[in-house]
């Protein structure tokens, strides 16, 4: 995400605000995001008007904070000024409604340049960019590694200029000249892409997903470990608990897995981290992002903050709230950015297992398949047990398979003692 449109102010100058209050709504590629304030104080001024589109990081409002408990007469309570900035959505490379793109923690390069670099197998990391502000250009990418002849489009300079003026991708034009060279007449007869076609929210979201996943596949050396977990104890416990709870307090098995993942991370901090530039920074807090598929297309993975804390009932209520808001397009900015690992559960759709792709800048993702009755050996006997395949995808720059395997074993152990979750 590079920019957002300030849809609505929820506060006015002079209003008191507390940490965590929602002060504005911003329309982004990921839907409407609620902007939280991280200070307690009084709104001094609003710096952006409703309807204005501003880049990520733009100060939105000024908030006067009071450093000592508010006291009308205290002259020493010098107000400090704090400002709230436009939220940076999911950190990383997200394409906005326009076509510009900002890579928040990697080298600056346009999608076309990245694509070319990928085609040529050239790494952008550490490359010196000769464009504006060190931006890596096509020439930078192609310079050190000339494209193979078969890759090169044969086209006359005139035809190339026409193509560029008309927004036509010359790689898609059939050349009728000598050796397949593209002539001006080929370009003129090529289909011009529909101008200014409005991009739907679903398309924007898919582009954002495409950008994040392309980056993950390009940059993260994934490794995978998979483990089959006997869910018999967990489900039996859940049935017993749910039978005693009122319908409004019932739990689903997903919340047990969510909690177990968070608890298993306690001793496996290398998986609970974010990749920042050249190294992974472990997170003290555990915020598991929950992949939520939106009916009608789209996918978001907002975070359930401090997933390891509070009671299971509390976590269940928070999960329902988060998923409902995700589907209604009412997520908060911090929820979109603070996840330290992601959990994706596709078992509901009946698949046995999932091999997930890490959501940058995170360094691990857990994928669950269906919990299904399988033959299982218990005390030397083959018995039917509900078994769930869990796959950990992790960044090999940060952890290795041995650590990943230990994490899955810990997850298994935790799910055998559900009452302790």
């Amino acid at each position: 995400m590079t920019a957002g449109t300030l849809a609505k102010w929820r506060v006015s100058p002079g209003d008191p605000v507390s940490q965590g209050d929602i002060i504005a709504e911003v329309e982004t590629d990921k839907g409407l995001i609620e902007v939280e304030v991280f200070e307690t104080g009084v709104v001094e001024s609003l710096l952006v008007e409703e309807g204005a589109k501003v880049p990520v990081g733009t100060p939105l409002a000024e908030i006067a904070t009071v450093s000592v408990p508010a006291s009308v007469s205290a002259p020493e309570s010098a107000p400090e000024s704090a400002s709230v900035s436009a939220p940076a959505s999911v950190p990383g490379r997200i394409i906005s409604a326009g076509s510009s793109e900002v890579d928040l923690d990697g080298p600056m390069a346009s999608p076309a340049v990245r694509r070319r670099a990928h085609e040529l197998d050239v790494s952008l990391q550490g490359m010196h960019g000769t464009g504006d502000h060190g931006r890596i250009t096509l020439d930078d990418v192609e310079g050190p590694a000339p494209p193979a002849p078969s890759d090169r489009v044969r086209i006359s300079p005139y035809a190339r200029r026409i193509a560029s003026e008309r927004g036509i991708d010359v790689r898609r034009v059939h050349g009728t000249g000598a050796g397949g060279a593209i002539r001006a007449s080929d370009v003129l007869s090529a289909k011009v892409p529909a101008p200014g076609k409005p991009v739907s929210a679903a398309e924007r979201m898919q582009r954002a997903i495409a950008a994040a996943m392309t980056r993950a596949n390009d940059e993260i050396p994934h490794y995978y470990v998979e483990h089959a977990i006997d869910m018999g104890n967990a489900l039996a416990w859940l049935r017993e608990v749910n039978a005693s709870l009122s319908v409004s307090e019932r739990l689903v098995s997903g919340v047990l897995v969510l909690r177990a993942v968070a608890r298993a991370l306690h001793k496996h901090k290398k998986l609970n981290a974010t990749w920042q530039g050249a190294e992974a920074v472990p997170s003290e807090e555990i915020h598991v992002g929950l992949a939520v598929s939106l009916r009608g297309g789209g996918l978001v993975a907002p975070a359930l903050r401090n997933t390891n804390e509070g009671s299971l009932s509390d976590l269940m209520a928070r999960m329902i709230d988060l998923v409902s808001r995700a589907r209604a397009g009412a997520l908060r900015s911090s929820e979109m950015t603070c996840a330290t690992i992601t959990l994706t559960a596709l078992g509901e759709r009946g698949v046995d297992s999932v091999t997930p792709i890490i959501f940058p800048p995170q360094v691990a993702i857990v994928g669950c398949g269906a919990t299904a009755e399988r033959p299982w050996v218990v005390d030397g006997q083959v018995v039917p047990r509900p078994v769930m395949h869990v796959t950990l995808g992790a960044d090999h720059r940060v952890s290795n398979g041995h650590q990943g395997a230990r994490f899955l074993s810990a997850l298994d152990r935790l799910l055998q003692d559900p009452e302790k979750l």
Binding site: A243, V247, R250, S253, R295, S324
Partner: protein, 81 residues
């Protein structure tokens, strides 16, 4: 309460859980999870909505009996008194 009234209430509860379904026609014998792409949390929220609207508490072991709209209408009708 007539069967049609129950149907209307169940559909209202369903659209609270999955507003995306809109006016989509739901066949009485279609599997709701498949047809409407519901997951177990959606089903739970639907069951909670039915409980709130009609006072009928559907235990977990009976979820299989409300897998289709037709079955759910019959199930609720038999317990609504």
């Amino acid at each position: 309460m007539t069967s049609d009234e129950i149907r209307t209430t169940l559909l209202t509860c369903l659209s609270d859980v999955a507003p995306e379904i809109g006016d989509e026609e739901i066949e009485d014998d279609a599997d709701l999870r498949d047809e409407l792409d519901l997951d177990s949390m959606d089903v739970l929220r639907w069951v909670q909505g039915i409980h709130k609207a009609l006072g009928v508490e559907i235990p977990e072991e009976d979820y299989g009996k409300i897998a289709t709209l037709g079955a759910a209408i019959d199930y609720v009708a038999a317990r609504i008194g």
